[in-house]
């Protein structure tokens, strides 16, 4: 018998029961290699849950994570491996998609206990923001690199400039995002930028990386690993912590977003034009239901676009909405990146944002918000595919 379309949802079907992370280091500063970091984060997430690590039966990651699922399973003594999923696409566009893929494996009956993780040791494997030693280049990069458009800031600055032009967005709006992240990092002892506050004058005086990006508009590069564990909702009560439920998730991008080079029809966009409506539809919620947002910041400009595309304000209202007061815990209109995020906590390719959303719903953030029943995560503005996630407490179901 064909089942009703309405049943095809993740809403309320899967729960996060554990989160874990390593210490976070400046890039190249980790004493441990990348695979060891992954193991540490996974074991920490299992310990947080009160789960025997051998009961994990699936692994999910993204951005071509190098810690192979089968090797992890062998190292951990996994009794049986049942799901091994990797989200296509680079950068942080997959940080929510990896959770969605894990949740889908569970809902579909392919696995019962899936760990989602990201591990990075750039000292071991080289940095994202630097390119060297390439003699010839073809494909998309051939249309960009010979013109000095090499690293991520240069690839995205023109996109943000166009958005600012189309909607009258001022530098102040981007500055407010950076200040909110640094503000929250000062309360978070895990944050790499803990103890290093940022103010308007320091932001304005900082060097340009690629106009319109100042230094503080750009994410850090870090070493570390983070992980979370998902189980079916019916098992959520077996574990140590208050469960956090997946309310919805969406992945993808709109019409010809990948048209290279810079030929996406909707160029001045964070790529959420189709993905944000999908998320709200699955969750049965709207922007006014969301109490706190963790939004991936490769660059602050992408956050402006992504928040607008999720309906928190209209693009023309960005200058009025994006103020430090509105973006900070505990009671701003939309507290943003409450752990410090990619800018000031740690660049764990956005996976630290997923963990922070879990903490907010649990009520254990270092910058706890008042409205914490529904938390949003937005992954990878301006790349493709992008992804997003809504997490909620039992009361939100």
């Amino acid at each position: 018998m064909v089942r009703a379309q309405a049943e095809r949802t993740l809403r309320g079907r899967v729960a996060v029961i554990g989160i874990g992370e390593t210490d976070y280091f400046r890039h190249g500063a980790s004493p441990d290699p990348e695979f060891k970091l992954a193991l540490k984060a996974i074991l920490a997430a299992c310990a947080d849950a009160g789960l025997d690590p051998r009961d994990i039966d699936g692994f999910a990651s993204y951005s071509e994570d190098r810690s192979d699922a089968s090797r992890l399973a062998a190292a951990l003594g996994t009794r049986r491996l049942r799901a091994a999923t990797m989200q296509w696409g680079g950068g942080g566009g997959g940080c929510c998609a990896a959770v969605a893929n894990a949740a889908s494996s569970i809902v579909a009956g392919l696995a019962d206990c899936v760990v989602v993780f990201r591990s990075l040791a750039q000292g071991q494997y080289g940095r994202f923001g630097q390119t060297t030693g390439i003699d010839t280049i073809s494909g998309e990069k051939a249309y960009l690199m010979p013109y000095g458009v090499l690293a991520p800031p240069q690839r995205f600055a023109m996109r943000v400039r166009r958005y600012m032009h189309e909607h009258g967005v001022r530098q102040d709006a981007m500055r407010a995002i950076a200040l909110a992240s640094y503000h929250h990092a000062q309360a978070n002892p895990r944050a790499v930028m803990h103890g290093k506050p940022l103010d308007e004058a320091k932001y304005d005086a900082s060097r340009w990386i690629a106009e319109p990006f100042h230094l503080y508009d750009c994410c850090m590069e870090n070493d570390g690993a983070a992980a979370l564990v998902l189980v079916p909702a019916e098992r959520a009560g077996e574990f140590r912590h208050k469960p956090v439920y997946v309310l919805g998730a969406a992945v993808g991008s709109g019409y010809r977003t990948a048209a290279m080079p810079h030929n996406s029809p909707l160029y001045a966009s964070a790529s959420f034009d189709t993905v944000a409506p999908d998320l709200y539809r699955m969750a049965g919620l709207g922007p006014s239901d969301v109490g706190v947002v963790q939004c991936y910041e490769n660059f602050t400009g992408g956050v402006v676009m992504a928040l607008a595309e999720h309906g928190f304000f209209k693009p023309g209202e960005a200058n009025d909405f994006l103020t430090v007061e509105n973006l900070t815990a505990p009671s701003g209109r939309l507290p943003l990146n409450t752990s410090g995020g990619n800018l000031a906590e740690c660049y764990m390719h956005g996976f630290e944002l997923v963990l922070e959303a879990v903490r907010q719903v649990r009520g254990t953030s270092t910058s706890q918000v008042q409205r914490n029943d529904v938390a949003m995560v937005i992954g990878g503005p301006m790349v493709t595919p992008v992804s997003n996630l809504l997490l909620g407490s039992e009361a939100s179901l």
Binding site: G129, Q130, T131, T132, I134, D135, T136, I137, S138, G139, E140, K141, A142, Y143, L144, M145, P146, Y147, G148, V149, L150, A151, P153, Q154, A157, M158, R159, R161, R162, H165, R207, W208, I209, A210, E211, P212, R256, A259, M260, P261, H262, N263, Y267
Partner: protein, 152 residues
């Protein structure tokens, strides 16, 4: 390698663009070497597209025709780059990269550098014309398409 005959906008040492092993973009790169800008246009439905693909994204006809267009366009967006992301740029900068839309080819866009003072004011919508920048002394030799401001 002989000394350079013509100054280039960016210093030597950046990656050299070549066609993919499957040859998809070979006509584009060969065209630049002959001072010609070639863009794909589907001969079935007249859709323009850039970068190149094996198929027309509108009607799915294979092997869209390479069509010469005049290198004239408007600045669609721009950036001034200060931080060097490659050793070749370490002592160089700032420099300007722009995104040019080409109305004659239904607004397809391409990235290049805006010639002239790197600190000049740049305005979206400014008309620009192409300048072919040849790197004949390299192996393999290649050419780039740069842009300069061209009247209103």
């Amino acid at each position: 390698m002989s000394s350079k005959a013509i100054p280039t906008y960016l210093p030597a040492g950046l990656p050299i663009p070549i066609a993919e092993p499957d040859g998809l973009s070979a006509p584009y790169w060969a065209g630049l070497r002959e001072n010609r800008l070639l863009v794909q246009r589907c001969s079935h439905c007249n859709t323009w597209q850039f970068g190149p693909e094996w198929i027309c994204h509108r009607c799915h006809a294979f092997d869209p025709q390479w069509t010469e267009v005049e290198p004239r366009g408007r600045i669609f967006s721009w950036e001034r780059v200060w931080h060097p992301s490659h050793v070749a740029l370490a002592q160089h900068g700032p420099y300007l990269a722009i995104l040019v839309e080409i109305p004659q080819a239904d607004g397809v866009r391409m990235v290049g550098n805006l010639l002239g003072d790197p600190l000049q004011n740049v305005a979206i919508g400014t008309h620009v014309e192409g300048v072919f920048e040849h790197h004949a002394e390299f192996d393999p030799a290649y050419s780039l398409l740069q842009w300069r401001v061209h009247g209103p």
